[in-house]
Symmetry: C2
Subunit: 352 residues, 2 copies
């Protein structure tokens, strides 16, 4: 079948009708890659769902195609969002495709280079707020309410409807089975909510016989759900999950509890170790936040959480591409060595 | 069908056997997106083949999966390449996946930030040469020959075998038809050679009834094929095609001539206009070199090259993702405007 994006593929599960204009960049259909190294380490079959290969380089595109399609259907001429970067990139791209305006509010100085370049190049009006993500979200919610501008943060229910298709795809890619464990980073907590919704709907429709345990990880310095309280000043190198007051807090807890899962936390050091591990061993380059889930299962593995040889299947969602944050990669790597254009000098450098 | 990369999908057309170890990141299966704006402007159906959604963000992954699989089959422990950036990113990632070493020689100071970050994070040994790409290619060819290191530039024939699968996919996505015109940027000229090979093999196998005219574009300051002479100091903002002495020069000319196509050139200004057009109108963010093909057909359109309403199909290959070169996007966009955390200030900025 030729792929035309997640709305065409999963139409029956989505709140769209025959007259909804489909605003798509052919998102979805992302690779599920078997991880030999993680599987060997943990003794279970680990697959990586590479959501960084969506059109704007993150999972946000799944929700944005639905949110923008519904916005255009309703006659919107302008959308707005707060963002740590990935949402703004996606909102800007899909608004451009839809031919409508886009305003994004970002925390000043706190979003990765690649993501900022995307919002700008797609023509969004980018405003850098004196404040963090949580403040920016509060502001855009108020503006949307007062001025009738369409909000496309994940508090927009169409966003989560689109994002749940990630769960459908995982099940389809596993030949009609749900994984035993579904692992992912948790920031604003919309994505874990959406995946659980997806698994539940696929289960109810008889497409899969089971549902996975939902395993989420926050960064230690931005772990309101784990700590059970709002974090006024969230701190982590994983900018995409640097959120102290998640919009989908309650529904994330529900996903965790209904599935018999857990939401834990990992340190920035553990995140960066997992980040380097994925790039150096699996050839998969992700943004730091994406590595939180992998850091988490490595940590759980040390506690013998997974039963080695049980035949269990684990799917880790890698939420965004490493190219979103090239500065982080450069900061954590050795600089290139200069060489003159002479064979002997080059061979010497190779052997060094 | 579940996607397991281009080798599994197109095995019968590739030089692999049952015992070839498949080194894959599930490359290929990239979106073909209809471009409403280009189609309206040119009066023919224009589709964008978004090769930037391959695992490392460029079309190079198609060739690299075959080159690394064959290298591992032959027992190689080390591969080497010269690169303007995309090849090194791909070689580094697939070498990491294969568990073997990788050396890349880049022209000092002349590769985009994102690409450099990739080669480094995937653990390649990156050497920055005092010299341009053509010099670097000359050096690695010599080193590979003398020291028995596997060369994975496109002079490695397995690279082009992998890259030709892009043509197969286009035909499959067009429901078993080849496009009438196939448009792409031309740098080292391996890709146009590979696509023509792909269309020709699919045609010979009876999968399609026709073959397209091959239309390539070089940057004016790096247009050796158009000008009919080696360019000693190629100059263009499109770093991925900043090449003065293409390795696949003759075969690119053959593709052009056998197909009744053409290879033209576009200015950096035209490339940047097409780059901004794609981002702002189509929601598709590419690296500058990728926009050369689109700049080219816009130029041809002004000369009435395409017959409006003829029903012709045009496929433009967009070779790499815009996140490869975020600095270019930032340089060509307005900076974000700072705002205090007050509703009135934000509304004022939105309305400004």
């Amino acid at each position: 079948m030729i792929w035309h994006g997640i709305i065409e593929k999963y139409r029956e599960f989505l709140p769209v009708g025959p007259r909804t204009p489909v605003v798509t960049l052919n998102e979805g259909n992302t690779p599920l890659v078997f991880s030999k190294h993680l599987s060997d380490i943990l003794g279970v079959a680990v697959h990586l769902k590479c959501e960084g290969l969506n059109p704007t380089g993150s999972f946000k595109d799944r929700g944005m195609t639905v949110a923008l399609s519904k916005a255009v259907e309703a006659g919107a001429r302008l959308v707005i969002c707060a963002s740590t970067g990935n949402t703004s990139a996606s909102a800007a791209a899909y608004s451009a495709k839809a031919g409508i305006g886009c305003v994004v509010l970002i925390p000043r100085g706190a979003i990765a280079l690649g993501k900022l370049s995307q919002a700008l190049v797609h023509g969004a009006k980018v405003l850098a707020l004196d404040g963090n993500f949580d403040k920016a979200l509060q502001m855009v919610r108020e503006i949307a309410r007062r001025h009738g501008i369409t909000l496309v943060n994940s508090v927009n229910p169409y966003r989560l409807d689109g994002q749940k298709t990630g769960a459908f795809e995982v099940c389809d890619q596993l030949d009609g089975r749900a994984p035993d464990f579904h692992v992912m980073p948790v920031g604003n907590a919309g994505n874990i909510t959406a995946y659980w919704k997806g698994y539940t709907e696929y289960h109810r429709a008889g497409r899969v016989k089971t549902r996975p345990r939902m395993i989420g990880f926050q960064a230690e310095g931005a772990a309101p759900i784990v700590r059970g309280k709002i974090i006024a000043r969230p701190v982590t190198i994983a900018s995409a999950i640097r959120i102290g007051n998640p919009a989908s807090w309650k529904s994330a807890e529900a996903a965790r509890d209904e599935s018999g899962g857990l939401i834990g936390m990992v340190s920035d050091r553990e995140i960066l170790e997992a980040y380097r591990f994925l790039a150096a061993k699996e050839g998969v380059f992700v943004e730091p936040a994406s590595a939180a889930g992998v850091a988490g299962i490595l940590k759980l593995g040390k506690k013998k959480f997974f039963r080695r040889g049980s035949g269990a299947t684990v799917v880790c969602v890698l939420t965004g591409h490493g190219l979103k944050d090239p500065d982080r990669a450069l900061a954590s790597a050795k600089k290139p060595k200069g060489v003159p254009a002479r064979l002997e000098s080059i061979m010497k450098a190779i052997r060094a």
